[in-house]
């Protein structure tokens, strides 16, 4: 580890602060210019791109929702034809789930996890850059196909045989399946980075029981991704094989099984909900603690609840399939497991309430969003327990009741915390404060608009309105409620408009934030806002759950890292004892080229199987370029 060389490298323990910063900047900063920008591996830059991209997809997906609400506002409307409507609801679901919710949660992890565990970059930073270009290509594939009037029209879970070769004509379902391949590839890459960063790059002293709750939730999320994504990878690959090269995975006539699709899809699809929800739970835990001005109540039960949620997430996928005609015992088992997930969810909610109760809450915008989250998520959780029971689910399956339920858990459970998190961490990411006044308006409009839009959908569902219909007849009793919902949706949209206006305004001309505007306790607030390329001048030493509250004046730091190259500390898994100095890769353009080559191969494979063969050659070339030793100082150890 500590090698004696003739010319010992430049270490940080013999430099003063200004000199140290100069050297660190030289090693870590990405120089200007477009090619350099494409080559950067700085986790903060990449996460910012991820977040902006995800929010662009949120806007696009939201506009599709508006289009659907305009169409459904009155019976027999002729604004969208049925084919376009099918494309639009598929695009809305796929965009929101695969291009917004999952990437944005991962992006928050990419930004925050390295800062919160006190390291200088995420593990495998080039893979991180690669994952961003991949998801961008996947998003472009889906949206350009939509513009080309060739978007998938089979729903976001693309059941066979509707998406299979017999019913899914054209390239639409292939585009859906390959878009999934892009997102799962990028999600798996990020998950691996998060696990390694959390396990091996924590600041010295940050033992497992001192990890911030957000980092715990991201860790559990990453493990869920690693276990769930292979299922969807199998599903999307076999679907495209069925369609492209005449395999028969889902063809009952040739010994395949159409139900197999539902099993593999939901074996991924249900954990997916927790991939989205658990990071949000981590954000809520962080925000609640900061604005209650006390340590979180029940750290250990919360961590256990996260892990329990992560494990239970894999045991209840069949509740999406109650009406396919399962054996009774199977239905009972999955009813029980679906209801059991309410236990860890309940523990989390009670811990957050207890923290608020015992603290002195400051009702700033982030906390408002968290309270909106608790209300909507509990309502969504209650309808969740309802649809977990087979007789009830049989009645409301594929109706607007289900639509209401999953919007309550997904928007309530993930988007509200996410917006709160944006208000909370925006100062860290940009160095600027968002407006408290606009924030309150945004929260009020979104909360009110959301509930007025989605609560009546419960009633519509009980009145029998099926989901995914492009219109309904005037003599059905749904017209009034649908018009009300569509008008409320405008309220919701105006709330988001205020939010985005606030973001742009604050980004351009918000008040300077300073390093720790919320007086929060976790390590990301120990550095400047926005953090420098090297994150921390010196890596902190952690001896508590809330380091900045324990040591408001001065943090203990480590020394002994080289500054003439990118270097960070590798620590032990449980106690975070420093184990080694490890080099961190420099910027590289190769992940970008590798992503382009991979995209060409994947998109080409929609049209001909030979694209996999010939497309593998550029992928191999770019990977060789990626891993070729460059003779930099980082290659040394």
């Amino acid at each position: 580890m500590t090698e004696d060389r003739k010319q010992s490298p430049l270490m940080d323990d013999r430099l003063d602060d200004a000199e140290l910063e100069r050297h660190l900047l030289q090693s870590w900063q990405t120089p200007g210019g477009i090619w350099k920008a494409l080559a950067t591996v700085d986790h903060k830059t990449i996460a910012r791109r991820y977040i902006v991209t995800a929010f662009v997809f949120l806007i696009l997906g939201g506009l599709l929702a508006v289009a659907m609400r305009i169409q459904l506002a009155q019976p027999e409307a002729r604004i969208l034809d049925p084919d376009r409507y099918n494309q639009i609801f598929t695009m809305h679901g796929s965009t929101m789930m695969f291009l917004f919710a999952v990437p944005v949660m991962e992006a928050m992890a990419i930004y925050l996890v390295p800062l919160m565990v006190g390291t200088r970059n995420i593990a495998f930073p080039r893979l991180n850059a690669f994952s961003y270009w991949i998801i961008l290509a996947g998003g472009l594939l889906l949206w350009i196909s939509f513009a080309l009037d060739a978007a998938p029209d089979v729903g976001w879970f693309a059941y066979v045989p509707l998406s299979g070769p017999e019913y899914g004509s054209g390239k639409r379902a292939d585009i859906w399946a390959q878009m999934i391949t892009f997102t799962e590839l990028s999600a798996l890459a990020v998950a691996v980075e998060i696990v390694v960063t959390v396990f091996k790059q924590r600041a010295p002293g940050m033992s497992l029981d001192r990890i911030p709750l957000l980092v715990w939730s991201m860790l559990v999320m990453a493990f869920i991704v690693i276990m769930a994504m292979p299922a969807i990878m199998f599903a999307s690959s076999t679907l495209i094989l069925d369609r492209l090269v005449e395999t028969q995975f889902y063809n009952p006539a040739a010994g395949g099984d159409a139900l197999l699709w539902q099993h593999v899809f939901w074996f991924f699809g249900h954990p997916e909900v927790y991939i989205i929800f658990l990071p949000a739970a981590g954000m809520v835990s962080t925000i609640v603690a900061t604005f209650s001005r006390r340590a979180i109540f029940g750290y250990l039960p919360l961590v256990m609840a996260f892990i329990a949620t992560g494990i239970l997430a894999f045991g209840l996928w069949v509740h999406h399939m109650f009406v396919v005609g399962l054996p009774r015992l199977g239905e009972s088992f999955f009813t029980a497991s679906s209801m059991a997930i309410a236990v860890p969810a309940g523990i989390q909610v009670f811990c957050w309430l207890a923290t608020l109760w015992l603290g002195r809450p400051v009702f700033a915008t982030p906390l408002l969003f968290v309270i909106g989250f608790i209300v909507t998520f509990v309502i969504g959780g209650l309808t969740g327990v309802m649809v977990a029971s087979v007789p009830f689910d049989t009645q409301v399956h594929d109706t607007y009741f289900v639509v209401a339920h999953f919007h309550y858990v997904l928007v309530g459970g993930a988007v509200f915390p996410l917006l709160g998190a944006i208000y909370y961490w925006f100062p860290k990411m940009t160095g600027r404060m968002m407006s408290e006044r606009l924030g309150r308006w945004a929260f009020g409009l979104i909360f009110l608009g959301f509930n007025l839009t989605f609560f009546p959908m419960h009633i519509l569902g009980l009145l029998g309105m099926p989901r995914r219909v492009y219109t309904y007849q005037p003599d059905l009793p749904w017209g009034g409620l649908n018009l009300f919902i569509s008008l409320s949706a405008l309220l919701l949209v105006s709330g988001f408009l205020v939010f985005f206006i606030d973001v742009l305004r604050a980004w351009r001309s918000g008040l300077p934030a300073g390093p720790n505007p919320w007086k929060a306790a976790t390590l990301e607030w120990a550095t400047s806002s926005p953090p420098p390329a090297y994150n921390f001048r010196r890596i902190p030493v952690v001896d508590a759950c809330d380091p900045l509250w324990m040591h408001p004046e001065e943090l203990a730091v480590t020394a002994g890292l080289r500054v003439d190259r990118r270097e960070l500390i590798v620590s032990s898994v449980v106690e975070a004892l420093p184990e080694a100095r490890e080099s961190s890769p420099r910027d590289s353009i190769w992940p970008f080229w590798a992503a382009i080559a991979t995209s060409i191969m994947l998109i080409g494979s929609i049209f001909t199987p030979w694209a996999v063969v010939w497309g593998a050659i550029p992928v191999a070339v770019t990977l060789i370029g990626w891993f070729w030793p460059k003779g930099t100082a980082e290659d040394a150890s």
Binding site: D81, P82, A147, A253, R432
Partner: protein
């Protein structure tokens, strides 16, 4: 230190990227508008016009209505319509006489021999109005749209060359090669074309 300038470039970079993204989508939308839309229900006037089949005397051969060309021959060139036609082929029991295309009680559809001419309008007329010696009329049981979709599909069964647009396979047992592999040509290589039989109808 110029914080204003630095932050502006921070805003500008994502904005330029977003604009670029929207430009790409916009360009694609222009192409998308030019593409043929997939219609689940043909407009009634269009359907009425499509129903005006112009046949030669004796019902052998003819010309499709003008609107068929104005629509750019959708039923022969769109994979969606061909797939719908393939499904209608089984739904309306065509296979009970014509088998998988090789014929049975009815004549073969892929031996290259069309009793009433190979044009799609003749096939549509056969489906709509029926033919002597057993071919029933489906005009009262199918919409005009469906008749054209089925006619388009039946034409591909006996295609001599592969076309870009093809129906995909059904989730059934397969007894013959896929339509987009120019099955007629492949089958001809295995056996000489069936000679015209006088009991099948009038000779050309």
């Amino acid at each position: 230190m110029m914080p204003g300038k630095v932050l502006n470039s921070n805003v500008a970079q994502p904005l330029v990227t977003i604009l670029f993204f929207l430009l790409l989508v916009g360009l694609a939308a222009l192409i998308g508008l030019a593409r043929q839309p997939r219609q689940y229900r043909t407009d009634p006037p269009v359907a009425a016009a499509l129903n005006q089949l112009r046949l030669m005397p004796g019902g052998i051969g003819g010309a499709p209505p003008e609107i068929y060309f104005a629509l750019d021959r959708p039923y022969e060139t769109s994979a969606y319509d061909l797939s719908q036609g393939k499904r209608l082929y089984s739904w309306f029991g065509c296979a009970s006489c014509h088998g998988d295309g090789r014929g049975g009680a009815g004549p073969s559809l892929l031996d290259g021999w069309w009793l009433y001419g190979p044009s799609v309008v003749a096939i549509a007329a056969s489906i709509r109005d029926g033919r002597p010696r057993g071919m029933p009329a489906f005009g009262s049981r199918m919409t005009t749209d469906q008749i054209w979709q089925l006619a388009g599909y039946v034409k591909t069964i006996g295609a001599y060359s592969a076309s870009l647009a093809a129906p995909s396979r059904n989730d059934d047992k397969h007894t013959r090669p896929a339509e987009n592999r120019a099955p007629a040509a492949i089958l001809f290589n295995e056996a000489p074309p069936v000679p015209p039989r006088s009991d099948q109808g009038p000779s050309p």
